[in-house]
């Protein structure tokens, strides 16, 4: 980096990059559990919306409507600043993970619901006619097909999660964007700092997309459209 003045090199290598790397670790620590719990929750909520009957179906539908229908920032603020009023105090990290999980589950449930609905009724009839119990028919026939139909949507939700994890700074959980904000306001180098932080997100999303493409190609089956 001989083309850069020494103090610039100093700033990038010894201030910005270490701080953003710290933030990156926090971001990853937010994304990994939130995406896994979010997906699991989305499968449960989505399944309830299709097979849950009147009561559970309606409750699951209401959950999805509320969490998809309100801004994530508001959900996070209520979790972190509102719940202590009810005697529940969450750490910034816990508040962020819970907020992301609840929001992500609501979106996943929509894709899961669509995937389950897209499995033709005849598939279930054929399984029943062969003597499958309802439970076995869902596990061996419906879910393998629904997963393939829901995958593109659920993958998209993972990409969104990576980006909306930047809202964790609202509840004072200092991940990538939070660190960038601190460095930027200390150094007044807003454009450089956020440009580099943006690159970090771009790289994460690229890696995640490659991972999703790999899963889709592993699960590809003729007749299941463009996966």
């Amino acid at each position: 980096m001989s083309w850069m003045p020494a103090e610039e090199v100093e700033f990038f290598l010894h201030r910005l990059i270490p701080a953003l790397n710290d933030g990156l670790l926090v971001t990853l620590a937010l994304i990994v559990p939130s995406s896994l719990f979010g997906l699991a929750g989305g499968i449960v909520v989505g399944s309830l919306r299709v097979y849950g009957g009147a009561l559970w179906g309606r409750l699951a539908g209401a959950y999805a409507a509320i969490f998809r229908g309100t801004p994530l920032v508001i959900q996070l603020v209520i979790l972190y600043f509102g719940l202590p009023g009810l005697g529940i105090t969450l750490s910034p990290y816990a508040a962020a993970v819970i907020g992301f999980t609840l929001c992500s589950a609501a979106y996943h449930s929509e894709y899961v619901r669509g995937g389950l609905r897209a499995v033709r009724r005849g598939q279930l009839l054929a399984a029943q006619a062969l003597g499958f119990s309802p439970w076995k028919a869902v596990v061996w026939i419906v879910i393998p097909q629904a997963v393939r139909k829901a995958l593109p949507g659920c993958g998209n939700e993972l990409i969104y999660l990576i980006k909306y994890s930047s809202l964790a700074y609202v509840v004072t959980c200092f991940e990538l964007t939070g660190q960038a904000k601190i460095i930027a306001s200390e150094s007044f180098r807003f454009s450089e700092v956020f440009f580099v932080a943006g690159l970090y997100y771009l790289i994460m999303v690229t890696v995640a997309s490659k991972f999703l493409q790999w899963i889709e190609s592993r699960l590809k089956i003729p007749g299941f459209g463009t996966l």
């Binding site: 033709r120 054929a126 062969l130 499958f132 393998p144 097909q145």
Partner: protein, 243 residues
């Protein structure tokens, strides 16, 4: 197998009206009649894919209680069902379509199930298509796989719901050949069809259904000989004249 007094209403309309039917081992009965006459519903009631409102089904002297899920699944394993639109499992290859119920319902090992599945595919002439997915098969091939899938469960009775109606005309004969071989091999079958030539050649008895009732029944020779003053013959000549 006996069907006793099956009735079913859907949306206030009476689809099946106290149907009685007796089926003896090795018999082939053919259901014919206009669309909406209740043929499909009757077949689906016969393995409780649709629950009838009154009446019951008896298999080898045993009455089936459809509310007992375990008994119902055991009963359905003994009754093979062939659908008009095949209903192959879209995410499984031909051989896995045949093997899956053996593995997951019967609890066979993977190897055992695949071996049996290959044998069944050979029987319907599709051993060379074993690794293809349903989307890669023609309609006739799909229907033959679905017949292999039903046969692998060693059913005591086969119910066939217009197995050739969704096929292009040139694919009908390959499927009918498989079904004819089954009938000649002594399989007990009830088949809804519009293939009159086939009904004449294979059926022990023809049942003519209209408005949820069996209006006429008898050996095809009696119902379908030219000049017989039957509703069945009337319907068939319309059908064949129309083509």
């Amino acid at each position: 197998m006996r069907v006793v007094g099956i009735s079913k209403r859907l949306g206030g309309r009476r689809i099946l009206d106290a149907i009685h039917l007796e089926l003896f081992k090795g018999q082939t009965k053919v259901l014919i009649g206009p669309s909406g006459g209740g043929k499909s519903t009757l077949l689906q009631c016969m393995n409780y894919l649709i629950f009838p409102e009154t009446g019951f089904i008896e298999l080898e002297g045993q009455t089936i209680d459809p509310r007992n899920t375990k008994a119902l699944c055991a009963f359905r394993q003994q009754v093979g069902m062939i659908f008009q639109d095949f209903n192959l499992f879209d995410h499984l290859t031909a051989v896995d379509n045949v093997a899956i119920a053996l593995r997951k319902v019967r609890g066979w090992s993977r190897r055992q199930a695949l071996e049996r599945a290959m044998a069944e595919l050979e029987r319907v002439g599709l051993a060379d298509k074993a690794t293809l997915y349903p989307a890669e098969l023609s309609g006739g091939q799909k229907q033959r796989v679905s017949i292999a899938r039903a046969l692998a469960m060693d059913p005591k009775v086969m119910l066939l719901d217009e197995p050739t109606s969704a096929l292009d005309p040139e694919l009908v004969s390959e499927v009918l050949a498989v079904i004819r071989a089954l009938a000649q091999g002594g399989m007990t079958m009830v088949m809804a069809t519009h293939q009159m030539g086939f009904a004449r050649a294979v059926a022990d008895e023809v049942l003519f259904m209209e408005n949820g009732r069996i209006i006429e029944q008898g050996p095809p020779a009696a119902l379908l000989t030219p000049g017989a003053a039957t509703r069945t013959l009337d319907f068939c000549s319309q059908l064949e004249g129309g083509i």
